[in-house]
């Protein structure tokens, strides 16, 4: 039944390559062609190899950047940006000799400007590169600096690819030990563009414990496997809520789901961060908890991650 459905999808103009569950490269430029029932397997393989070799961009390191860490999830709203921001700050706090940069690759919903309390248009360097905005010692770049706060970025994939390329390569990062990239939700253009363009040291997948989120987190992990990016581990966010009044614990989003997924995928759980009003309040105020409340229990948990 399912294969019949896929045939119809193909005849609508998608590439026959889609049928063979390839390495998830998904193409921007496959032209539509009709499938004849007598297509030869060998011919198909050869065609596929040709298209693949033509279609893949070359991976090139970003000048001056030693290691690239991406924070992703398949699911939205699990705390990727919150975790990425706090981990970037923690990396800098842990070793003041290390230079850390933060790239907000969520072009549709950039959260980093708000969380890092940064506003304004980036200046241009003499080489016409954008200078990242800095706060708390972290160099940041985001689509949020390039568009008005209320303006939506209503772009199709090709524009997004081009924007990501610019955010990666046309920013004057200087010498960075770590570039932390906050990804948008999903497993599409942005994720592919980043993974295909720059060598990524590792990916951290953030999820809440509930099954619905884990479904997508699993897809996120699968995506990184397809594009050959090592997954460093999972972070379980919003794991449990402790009532500030009576200290009763409620697992609002389920219990320990991420641990189960980590076991299935053979990955480590890098950290377990509870639901705490302070984390949200400090991010909304542009003073992430690692900076504003460095002594708090939350921060020790983040630093362990």
């Amino acid at each position: 039944m399912v294969s019949h459905v896929w045939c119809r999808v193909l005849c609508a103009g998608l590439c026959p390559v889609a049928l063979c569950r390839l390495q998830g490269w998904g193409s921007a430029a496959f032209s539509s062609r009709s499938l004849s029932s007598s297509t030869n397997d060998e011919f198909l393989k050869e065609k596929r190899a040709q298209i693949m070799s033509r279609g893949l961009p070359k991976q090139k390191p970003i000048e001056g950047v030693k290691q690239v860490l991406v924070f992703a999830s398949g699911k939205g709203g699990v705390g990727k940006s919150t975790t990425a921001v706090n981990i970037a700050l923690a990396l800098a706090a842990h070793d003041s000799t290390k230079a850390v940069g933060l790239l907000d690759a969520d072009v549709y919903g950039p959260s980093i400007p708000k969380m890092m309390n940064l506003k304004g248009n980036p200046e241009l360097s003499p080489k016409n590169f954008m200078r990242p905005l800095k706060n708390y010692g972290i160099a940041c770049m985001s689509m949020g600096f390039l568009v008005e706060e209320t303006a939506p970025v209503v772009w199709r994939g090709l524009m997004v690819m081009s924007a990501i390329e610019k955010l990666l390569r046309q920013v004057d990062w200087g010498q960075l030990d770590y570039l932390v990239i906050d990804m948008p939700p999903g497993t599409g253009d942005v994720q592919l563009s980043v993974s295909q363009n720059v060598p990524v040291t590792g990916a951290v997948i953030v999820s809440t414990p509930q099954d619905i989120a884990l479904l997508d987190a699993r897809k996120g992990a699968e995506m990184f496997r397809k594009v050959r990016v090592p997954v460093l581990g999972l972070v379980q966010n919003m794991s449990v809520f402790q009532c500030p009044k009576c200290k009763h614990e409620t697992h609002i989003f389920g219990a320990d789901g991420v641990r189960g997924l980590a076991k299935t995928l053979g990955l480590d759980v890098l950290g377990d961060i509870p639901l705490n009003v302070n984390i949200r309040e400090t991010c909304d105020a542009g003073q992430p908890i690692v900076i504003s409340q460095p002594q708090s229990d939350m921060v020790s948990l983040v630093l362990c991650t």
């Binding site: 039944m1 399912v2 019949h4 459905v5 119809r8 999808v9 609508a12 998608l14 889609a18 569950r21 490269w25 998904g26 193409s27 921007a28 430029a29 496959f30 398949g74 939205g76 709203g77 699990v78 940006s81 549709y108 919903g109 959260s111 708000k114 209320t150 939506p152 209503v154 199709r156 994939g157 939700p185 999903g186 497993t187 599409g188 253009d189 994720q191 592919l192 509930q210 099954d211 619905i212 479904l215 997508d216 897809k219 996120g220 699968e222 995506m223 397809k226 594009v227 809520f241 009532c243 009044k245 009576c246 009763h248 409620t250 609002i252 989003f253 389920g254 009003v277 949200r280 909304d284």
Partner: protein, 271 residues
């Protein structure tokens, strides 16, 4: 509803409703599902179109994951959630060989599938078609709005959580609706407060009032606040009918109220 030219497979659909947000994880799929269940409970026939190709959640929420899609002469038959055929669903989740398969596609491929979802699914007669979208304002949204435009959708329900980072993204989504001529039916503020089951103290985990403030500022109706409710979360995990099974739960009154406002909007005397 008058026919607009050739409506094809959408000819029998009464009202089309999109559920949008700029932000991820605010509860679009949850609201879409609960709205469908609430409308069913008042006797309406509802279809759900899940255009979140990267993270299709609705099959799991309605306990129909793993079902196959059948074909008929006019196209794909949507999956029915129950014996009465009162809720039907189409999602990429049904087209994957394994539920864990990642859909790692660029824009043009997503556009092609969405167009097919809109034109080639035989919905039959429906009172409502609810379209659940992924976060953002990307290919999926542009294609969905463009393809649905000839069918004059009723409008969009925007979902947000109260905190500043969500409200900021939803503000952008409001602008998107304005630019594409999509009417905003209203804003829902989800995850608005958590009441401890032990001591009944309410904690505004994700802040409070941001969605209501945004609705006031933008001049669009505010449909209501839905509190954080572990019973709702659990019900969705298990694919249960929250509206039927948990009428005393904290989220129920808010969800019922939202559904009622939609019904009022579509009644002959409504605006």
């Amino acid at each position: 509803m008058e026919a607009v030219g050739e409506r094809g497979n959408l000819a029998g659909v009464g009202h089309i409703l999109l559920v949008l947000s700029g932000k991820g994880g605010v509860g679009k799929s949850t609201i879409s599902t609960e709205l469908a269940l609430a409308l069913r409970h008042v006797g309406k026939k509802v279809g759900i179109l899940d255009v979140d190709l990267c993270g299709p959640s609705i099959p799991q929420m309605l306990k129909v994951q793993g079902k196959g899609v059948h074909q008929c002469d006019s196209g794909w038959v949507p999956v029915f959630v129950d014996q009465d055929k009162s809720i039907s669903l189409m999602s990429i989740g049904f087209l994957l060989e394994k539920p864990d398969d990642a859909v790692v596609w660029r824009g043009p491929k997503k556009n092609a599938l969405i167009k097919q979802f809109i034109s080639d699914v035989t919905w039959g007669d429906l009172d409502f078609l609810i379209v659940d979208t992924p976060p953002g304002t990307s290919d999926e949204h542009i294609s969905t709005v463009e393809s649905l435009h000839p069918y004059k959708p009723l409008g969009a329900v925007l979902v947000t959580t109260p905190q500043a980072v969500s409200v900021g993204d939803v503000r952008r989504e409001l602008t998107f609706c304005k630019k594409t001529g999509l009417q905003v039916i209203g804003i829902v503020e989800n995850m608005s407060g958590f009441v401890c089951p032990h001591c009944l103290e309410c904690t505004n985990l994700f802040s409070k009032g941001g969605g209501e403030e945004l609705a006031r500022h933008a001049g669009v109706p505010f449909l209501g606040c839905v509190p954080l409710d572990p019973q709702l979360t659990q019900s969705l995990e298990e694919g249960r009918d929250f509206i039927q099974e948990f009428p005393k739960s904290s989220a129920f009154p808010a969800l019922a109220h939202i559904a009622q406002q939609i019904l009022d909007r579509t009644s002959p005397q409504g605006s």
